[in-house]
């Protein structure tokens, strides 16, 4: 059986997409408020926010490289690479 293990509150804003990093220790959340929120699954705390998009962030993905770049895309018709 599957149980809810943890839950993160990203505030009064929609979470449009959530992805684990490859180590599964962080969850990256694409937020309607134009930020990417990073939660730690060990401490269950919010780590930080990545800012830069000028509209809602709609999707996230990882590249294939070992040092894992994050790619984000959103309403501002752009996509960004984070390293």
């Amino acid at each position: 059986m599957v149980k809810e293990e943890m839950s993160f509150d990203s505030g009064m804003t929609s979470a449009n997409c959530a992805v684990f990093d490859k180590s599964c220790s962080l969850v990256f959340v694409a937020s309607e408020d134009a930020s990417i929120k990073i939660f730690n699954t060990q401490t269950r705390e919010k780590e930080t926010e990545l800012k830069g998009h000028e509209g809602a962030v709609l999707d996230l993905c990882w590249d294939n490289s070992p040092d894992s770049c994050l790619i984000s895309a959103g309403e501002d018709a752009s996509f960004k690479i984070w390293q």
Partner: protein, 260 residues
């Protein structure tokens, strides 16, 4: 298309991620580059499993391929009549599937630069698509409350998964298995097994519509599904904004399965 249905595997495949250790990506990420190239919102991303190429899907009815990290535009796909909400690369990297507000799912063969198939059985907008790791099957989820599974050898859908009572907004395969999760506007996540075509389990807990369902890459250790939610007050037709939000992780205590 041969019209010979693909066999649904009975056993799970080996998950290569189990043999690897990954360092935490860290909250230390910093912004590297920004690329503009669409006329409207980019709704979805997919990273090519074989090459350093990312696909973007957009409200401007097109999809595009970009080389990473230099951001050169490689190809642009036109053909959908309405927004494109989802895109996914085939595991071999030679095909791209897209889901659109025009109610169709298209498979693009970008090696031959053409639209290989158009599947239009969903009567309503299609949000997202996901390829099975074998590359033989594709899932699509739609505002028509269903998930459909398509066989790349068949012109018609292989199966329609019914059970949700609102739009199905997201669909994701549990890596290297025959199980997938769907997240819906009805605030539930359901797990389905394509061998039995049955709903295995439904999770309740979110207080708003579910936007996104994702697995972590390790299947056998406690595996997690994450998702988020949104309010159902519709803003634009195909995407809703909401004021309250959460993300949940779910775990399944289960022994690693044998590898076929």
């Amino acid at each position: 298309m041969t019209n010979e249905p693909h066999m649904i595997p009975k056993r799970e495949r080996f998950n290569p991620a189990l043999n690897e250790t990954f360092e935490a990506s860290g909250p230390h990420l910093s912004h590297l580059k920004t690329y503009k190239g669409h006329l409207q919102s980019i709704t979805a991303l997919s990273y090519n499993p074989k090459k350093d190429i990312v696909a973007t899907a957009s409200d401007d009815t097109t999809w595009k391929l970009w080389s990473i990290p230099n951001g050169d535009l490689i190809m642009s796909g036109e053909g959908h009549q309405d927004w494109v909400g989802g895109c996914a690369f085939h595991p071999r990297g030679n095909l791209l599937a897209t889901a659109s507000g025009d109610g169709t799912v298209k498979i693009w063969d970008f090696v031959n630069a053409c639209c290989a198939y158009t599947w239009s059985e969903h009567g309503q907008p299609v949000w997202k698509v996901a390829f099975h790791d074998t590359g033989d099957f594709l899932l699509s989820c739609s505002m028509d409350h269903t998930v459909k599974m398509w066989d790349l050898n068949m012109e018609k859908s292989r199966f329609t998964y019914r059970g949700h009572v609102d739009s199905v907004n997201s669909v994701s395969w549990q890596p290297y298995t025959q199980v997938f999760a769907s997240g819906s506007g009805d605030k539930t996540v359901s797990m389905w097994d394509i061998r039995t075509s049955q709903c295995v389990q439904t999770f309740y807990g979110h207080q708003n519509a579910i936007n996104s369902v994702r697995f972590n890459i390790r299947v056998s250790s406690p595996s997690c599904v994450t998702f988020s939610r949104r309010e159902i007050e519709l803003c634009p037709l195909h995407r809703t904004a909401s004021r309250k939000c959460g993300t949940c992780a779910w775990s399944k205590k289960r022994c690693p399965s044998t590898v076929g």
